[in-house]
């Protein structure tokens, strides 16, 4: 099971697919101060990433996966989501 939803911490393991997105989003929405453990996560579906961007959980453990750690984690830990410059509006 890629998703282990605790009281405050969700542990994401392996490949998080689109099937887990709804559950994760619902949990993030319902949890007051959500924390997400990405250590054993190998891939995040875009939907899961988007949900995390929306609800901004605290990443309690950084992923070991190189792509997630190198490219995706900085996005999640970004400065509140507002990019420095904004030329156009995403939909």
């Amino acid at each position: 099971m890629p998703l282990e939803l605790g009281d405050t911490t969700a542990t994401l393991t392996g490949v998080v697919t689109v099937d887990e997105v709804e559950e994760l989003a619902a949990w993030l929405q319902a949890t007051a101060k959500p924390r997400v453990n990405l250590r054993k996560c190998n891939h995040l579906h875009t939907g899961a990433l988007q949900a995390m961007l929306r609800f901004r959980p605290k990443v309690s453990a950084a992923p070991t996966d190189a792509f997630l750690a190198g490219q995706v984690l900085p996005l999640l830990e970004g400065s509140g989501g507002e990019p420095t410059r904004q030329g156009s509006e995403p939909p």
Binding site: A25, H43, L44, G47, Q71, T84, S88, E89, P91
Partner: protein, 782 residues
């Protein structure tokens, strides 16, 4: 060299000449449909055969030429001299390549570049559509940076700009705006980006305002991405092949980024920002070819081909290769659909794609394509040798050459007589020696000349065998028999005269086997043989002779029946009927007037029997023997000289006149004291090693007055004719000579006792005896 390639090269030389001539003629009489057709066919054949080998450039170039010619043929284009020049240049280039192939078995390294230029020119008149490859991803090289560069981390951007400026390099920046329903199509944008090779940096475009938590739809994609990568265009294109309308790719250099960072591009960015609106990105299907993309796609296809060759099995492997091919094909603007990947289909697809796509001339040049100067091969350019040249020479010319070689031999032999005369008549030993030296030099050259002319005349026996598969098939159907024909040793070589003369006897023998030898299917099954009979035609070289065997596994010859039949026809005496051995009885079928077939069919038994076969083979200087076993088949063996052009004869004289006899027939020459000659039943005989050999007085048989000197030993030439030994009483033995036998013609045609005449070195005409006839003559005289 691979025989297929050798053959291709030989044919190619012919085709090239054909094309050259055709094109030149077309220029003089434009629009001659027949001529256009001819040139087109030659080009087409060329393309077709070139596909057998690993010469993609050759295939592509001929393909382009073929397309142009096809358009001309269809009347869509008039052929002008510019096109003719291009076509000639193309075929000149091919000629050069093939010369390279002839020596190195590969195309020259410059082939690709040379071909590309010409292909562009060839394709130009027909719209050049094949050169312009549609691409799905347009890589814009812009001087101003797109506004979405803002979504990258500024610090990183600054570092990158500095690095790119230092290295004068570029980086590829991509914006990917997935549409909101993409999750439902099982797309995962992040997963796609994850696969981008050499990903440098990922940036995120978040919605300006996230919906309220309650309204949040986790299945609507609201984010977009920007990323920088060093991946090739082909790779990007491949990965994003299903969402190519959602990405925008730009290549930026350090200066552009720097300008953007310093705010210079702000004004610029305002205008295009509308077009940059995510979701409304309209990636132009680029019409000008993107050389790098084509190169990448080609690289993928080449790799796929290699991978197919190395590992042609495994479904998973094939599927992935198929995917790669589909993507590459898409990039080349030639979408293919591969449903059931299998090796053959994939290989064919890749080969076609590669063949259809010229390699881009220049991977980076985006400048408008200027007419590329083509290095035209000049007509006086030697151009190298394509294949080994094959001459088609009229047979008569070779025959004439052979005659001349014969004359040269005769003239050469004259020198020995001259040497003799120099010594005996003019008493000059020194001169005689010098003449002999000259003779030996001339002799060597004449021998070589003769050998090479003989070699020209050599043909493989397949020429004689070629008609039999059809003949056997037709006849076996007509006779309702099942027959399998087996040919072996077709590549055995023999003189063309022999091959030609062999035709009729062979047909006769094969027909005989079909008609009399092989039983019907029912008969065969009843005797426990397989229903399908087998007739074998086998040729094998045996020294200076060639042996051809025709064997069948039919019913064989019944010696008892042959004996009875021969007796009934009066061919053998009652005594012989009793005593003849089985093998001798089988030989009776060669007697004139013998035919055992109960029923004369339209196949064999047209009045020509086996005697005709034996006669014609013996006329060639050969021999026929038959071996047969009742119930299990018959084998007829023909033994023929490899060449009939030159005959070795033994020269002897009788009553002062010289005669020749083929050396093949000579068993030995003996000198017997007159006293040892004896007479048995009015026939002179001599006893040699316990065997009684009849001796014919040749002078008497030929009606020439001569009385042997009683005091001298008798010179007796023992010859073997029809397996029997006969002695010929002659006056003197001379040497053996190689002569070119000329048949008796004109007024002498009636003289059957001579098989021909030959000219000797001293100018004398030598009559060569036909031993069979001479024996018959002697019997009548005796």
């Amino acid at each position: 060299m691979n025989p297929l390639l050798a053959q291709f090269l030989a044919e190619a030389a012919d085709l090239l000449t054909q094309v050259d001539e055709g094109l030149l003629q077309l220029e003089r009489t434009p629009g001659d449909p027949e001529m256009v057709n001819e040139v087109f066919r030659a080009a087409h054949t060329f393309k077709g055969s070139s596909g057998l080998f690993d010469f993609p450039e050759l295939t592509r170039l001929t393909h382009a030429a073929e397309d142009l010619l096809d358009a001309v043929r269809a009347g869509a284009l008039p052929l002008d001299s510019g096109m003719t020049d291009d076509l000639l240049a193309a075929f000149d280039l091919i000629r050069g390549w093939l010369a390279h192939v002839t020596s190195n078995e590969c195309l020259p390294a410059t082939a690709g570049a040379d071909a590309a230029a010409l292909i562009t020119r060839l394709r130009a008149p027909i719209g050049g559509e094949k050169v312009k490859v549609e691409t799905t991803v347009a890589v814009a090289r812009r001087d101003s940076a797109p506004a979405w560069l803002a979504y990258f981390d500024e610090e990183w951007l600054a570092e990158t700009a500095a690095w790119l400026r230092t290295t004068s390099a570029q980086m590829r920046f991509i914006r990917y705006v997935p549409d909101s329903g993409c999750f439902f199509r099982a797309e995962d944008p992040l997963h796609l980006i994850r696969q981008v090779p050499a990903l440098e940096r990922l940036g995120l475009i978040e919605p300006v305002e996230w919906p309220e938590a309650a309204d949040y739809d986790e299945y609507a994609c609201m984010v977009a991405f920007v990323f920088a990568a060093r991946a090739a265009v082909g790779e990007i294109d491949y990965l994003f092949r299903y969402v190519s309308d959602q990405i925008e790719v730009v290549d930026l250099d350090g200066d552009t980024i720097q300008r953007y960072l310093s705010g210079e591009a702000e004004a610029d960015a305002a205008a295009p920002s509308e077009a940059d609106e995510p979701g409304t990105v309209d990636t132009v299907r680029s019409s000008p070819s993107e050389p790098e993309l084509v190169a990448d796609a080609r690289a993928i296809l080449t790799a796929a081909l290699r991978s197919l060759a190395i590992n042609p099995t495994g479904h998973v492997h094939l599927v992935s290769v198929a995917n790669a091919i589909t993507a590459a094909a898409h990039a080349l603007g030639d979408p293919v659909e591969i449903r059931e990947p299998d090796v053959v289909a994939l290989t064919a697809t890749v080969t076609r794609l590669l063949g259809d796509t010229p390699p881009p001339e220049d991977a980076v040049s985006t400048a408008p394509i200027e007419p590329i100067p083509v290095d035209r091969g000049r007509a006086d350019d030697p151009g190298g040798q394509v294949g080994s040249r094959i001459l088609k020479v009229d047979q008569e010319k070779v025959d004439h050459l052979m005659e001349l070689v014969g004359e040269l031999n005769v003239a050469k032999n004259g020198l020995t007589f001259l040497a003799q005369a120099a010594e005996e008549e003019f008493g000059s030993r020194a001169l005689s020696r010098r003449i002999k030296d000259q003779y030996s030099g001339l002799h060597r050259i004449a021998e070589e000349l003769q050998a090479s002319v003989m070699d020209i005349r050599m043909l493989p026996l397949s020429v004689a065998f070629s008609r039999f598969p059809r003949l056997v098939r037709d006849l076996s159907r007509r006779l309702g028999k099942n027959i399998e024909l087996v040919l072996t040793g077709e590549d055995t070589m023999a003189d063309k005269d022999v091959i030609e003369a062999l035709g009729d006897p062979l047909v006769h023998l094969v027909r005989n086997s079909l008609d009399h030898g092989v039983e019907t299917v029912d008969e065969r099954l009843a005797t426990g043989k397989p229903g399908t009979a087998r007739i074998t035609l086998a040729a094998v070289a045996d020294g200076d002779a060639v042996v051809v065997e025709i064997s069948d596994d039919g019913r064989g010859v019944d010696p008892t029946r042959v004996r009875r039949k021969a007796y009934e026809k009066g061919l053998i005496s009652e005594e012989e009927l009793e005593t003849l051995s089985d093998s001798d009885a089988v030989d009776l079928v060669f007697r004139p007037g013998f035919s055992t077939a109960e029923q004369i069919s339209d196949l064999s038994g047209r009045g020509v029997g086996m005697d005709a076969v034996r006669a014609s083979v013996e006329k060639l200087g050969g021999a026929v023997t038959m071996r047969s076993e009742l119930g299990s088949g018959t084998t007829v063996r023909l033994r023929l000289p490899l060449s009939m052009a030159v005959t070795q004869v033994m020269v002897f004289s009788v009553a002062g006149q010289r005669f020749g006899i083929p050396v093949d027939l000579v068993v030995e020459t003996v000198r017997v004291p007159a006293a040892e000659m004896s007479r048995v039943l009015h026939q002179d005989v001599v006893v040699l090693r316990g065997e009684v050999v009849p001796v014919l007085d040749l002078a008497r048989a030929l009606d020439m007055p001569w009385t042997p000197d009683q005091t001298q030993d008798r010179a007796i030439l023992i010859v073997g004719v029809n397996g029997q030994r006969v002695g010929l009483l002659v006056e003197q033995f001379h040497r053996e000579v190689d002569v070119i036998l000329k048949p008796m013609e004109g007024l002498l045609a009636y003289a059957n006792e001579f098989s021909g005449t030959a000219l000797l070195g001293d100018g004398l005409v030598l009559l060569v005896l036909n031993m069979k006839e001479v024996l018959g003559l002697a019997a009548r005289v005796g």
